[in-house]
């Protein structure tokens, strides 16, 4: 890689350029437009959320950035390179089950490192330290079914962060968890992110979650999926997710986001 692209990759880790996506509809010959000409640049070290009601194309956009869905038009530039197939320069935390069920927690966290041929000693050390950081020491040899939902998600976080790729894509990662566990995991995520400062692209339909975690919220509208507004969240860090309602600036941003989403939520029903 040349010096030039390195510098560019420093400035814009992910650039979405005029991306559209149409799916074949249920009836023959019809099309559902999930995304319509979406463009945005994501700044280095920033925590960005895609917020919108279900059906707004936020997950589709994330999957296009991950390269597991192809755009109908437009392109993704990731770390200075045009994305042609699966994006192997990011980590991805999926919506559903986070870990491979046939591997133990330790084997799951090792998996991306072994694929990238890290030396065994490095693998062992990184895995030990990340399992420790997400608070799962002592559970290394358990299989995912033996872990609680929250523990499995922590394992998925460790697996995403362990390779230290600089970009983490998360698709409603805390969706299926109970409210209490969600708060704890959101707090943990912010703590871990403060250490590593990767770019995080976070898909959610939860307004409070988006405000509590993000630097920038990209509010999306329903069919066809478009960017409606981009809202900066000026709440200072470090943030305490449990007390986020009392944080300076929270009320203003919350109202701003809520108002933008108001018509969306009404038209959604």
């Amino acid at each position: 890689m040349s010096e030039g692209t390195c510098i560019q990759s420093q400035t814009v880790p992910i650039s979405v350029r005029h991306v559209s996506k149409a799916f074949r509809g249920a009836a023959i010959g019809t099309e559902v437009v999930a995304l319509d000409d979406v463009s945005l640049d994501i700044a280095p070290h920033s925590f960005v959320s895609f917020l919108g009601p279900s059906g707004c194309g936020k997950t589709t956009l994330l999957r296009i950035i991950a390269g597991i869905e192809k755009p109908s038009a437009g392109e993704i530039i990731c770390k200075g390179q045009r994305l042609a197939s699966t994006n192997t320069s990011v980590a991805y935390v999926p919506q559903g089950k986070g870990l491979f069920p046939w591997l133990t927690l330790r084997q799951n966290v090792e998996f991306p490192l072994k694929l990238r041929r890290f030396p065994a000693a490095v693998v062992a050390e990184k895995v030990r330290s990340w399992i420790d950081k997400v608070g799962l020491s002592g559970f290394e040899d358990l299989y995912p079914w033996q872990l609680s939902g929250g523990m499995e998600k922590r394992g998925a976080l460790a697996r995403a962060l362990v390779a230290d790729l600089g970009i983490v894509l998360m698709d409603e990662p805390f969706g299926p968890l109970d409210a209490q566990t969600r708060l704890i995991l959101q707090n943990d995520l912010l703590r871990l992110w403060a250490e590593q400062r990767s770019v995080i692209v976070f898909v959610t339909h939860d307004l409070v979650e988006a405000v509590a975690l993000s630097d920038v919220i990209i509010v999306m509208s329903r069919r066809p999926g478009r960017i409606k507004t981009i809202i900066e969240v000026p709440i200072p860090r470090p943030r305490d997710v449990f007390e986020i309602f009392k944080a300076p600036g929270f009320a203003e941003v919350y109202d701003q986001v809520r108002e933008t989403m108001h018509d969306e939520l009404i038209s959604a029903v």
Partner: protein
């Protein structure tokens, strides 16, 4: 404490094995008792006589020779059937075009009752080993085919996507994601195939043969030796027990990751 735990663990597993054996023993006792009063033991046999015949036969070489003949038919047929079923099932499950063309044929051929065409196999392949192997393959193939095919069709594509984002290679995809994901299906295929392979061998031997446990049972029923029929059946069960035990070890070793859940 440690000794107590060990002792109670031993006691616990003894209790479990006892719990499994108890209904069988009760059934045999009931059979024996009923044989004294109500059952016609000329037709059904009775456990004490069967046991005596079993001991006598097991002491000789004849039954072991028949077991050897059947076991070799079963093992050869089983491995060929399992291997081809796996290979074709995998190809059909992975490739959509190939699947669309081949799957209807597999479905059609599977609909042929194997018992009905068993005599054809004897005509084609002769009275010896080959015809029995062919019958077994014709049964085992489909079980393994559908086990693998269904496994591949129901695999969660998200696992593949995740692994691809982590930079997995094409061969890595097969060995680290696809095969582990369908392993439960593969083991179900292996297990059901074991019983079918034995049934296939016996069908073939009963249609036409000069040796094997099916031949032994047929001969015994020809001379109306009920106890000997049962002895033949017991040796068949022994064969199946050995095969399923080996598969059980594979399950214990490779499927520890499956949730241990029971309905109800």
């Amino acid at each position: 404490m440690g000794a107590y735990m060990r002792a109670s663990a031993v006691f616990g597993s003894a209790k479990r094995i006892g719990g499994i054996l108890l209904p069988g023993i009760l059934l045999l006792v009931a059979w024996e008792v009923a044989g004294r009063y109500v059952l016609d033991t000329e037709i059904l046999g009775e456990p004490s006589n069967i046991l005596a015949t079993l001991v006598k036969q097991a002491g000789g070489t004849k039954i072991w020779y028949h077991l050897w003949v059947t076991a070799s038919e079963v093992l050869i047929g089983y491995f060929i059937g399992v291997a081809t079923g796996f290979a074709i099932g995998y190809a059909v499950g992975v490739s959509e075009t190939f699947g669309r063309i081949v799957e209807p044929y597999v479905l059609l051929i599977n609909a042929i009752p194997k018992v009905a065409v068993a005599p054809l196999f004897i005509v084609f392949f002769g009275i010896g080993l080959a015809s029995k192997v062919a019958i077994i393959v014709s049964m085992v193939f489909f079980l393994m085919f559908y086990a693998v095919y269904v496994g591949l069709r129901t695999i969660d594509a998200e696992f593949l996507y995740q692994a691809r984002i982590m930079g997995i290679s094409r061969t890595g995809e097969i060995f680290k994601i696809v095969l582990p994901a369908i392993l439960p299906n593969i083991l179900v295929g292996l297990k059901t195939s074991a019983a079918s392979a034995i049934i296939g061998a016996i069908i073939g031997e009963i249609v036409a043969s000069r040796a094997g446990l099916g031949f032994y049972i047929l001969e015994a029923s020809g001379s109306f030796n009920v106890d000997a029929i049962w002895v033949g059946v017991i040796f068949l069960m022994l064969l199946l027990f050995v095969m399923t035990s080996i598969i059980g070890v594979l399950e214990w070793r490779f499927l520890r990751w499956l949730p241990r859940k029971h309905l109800g």
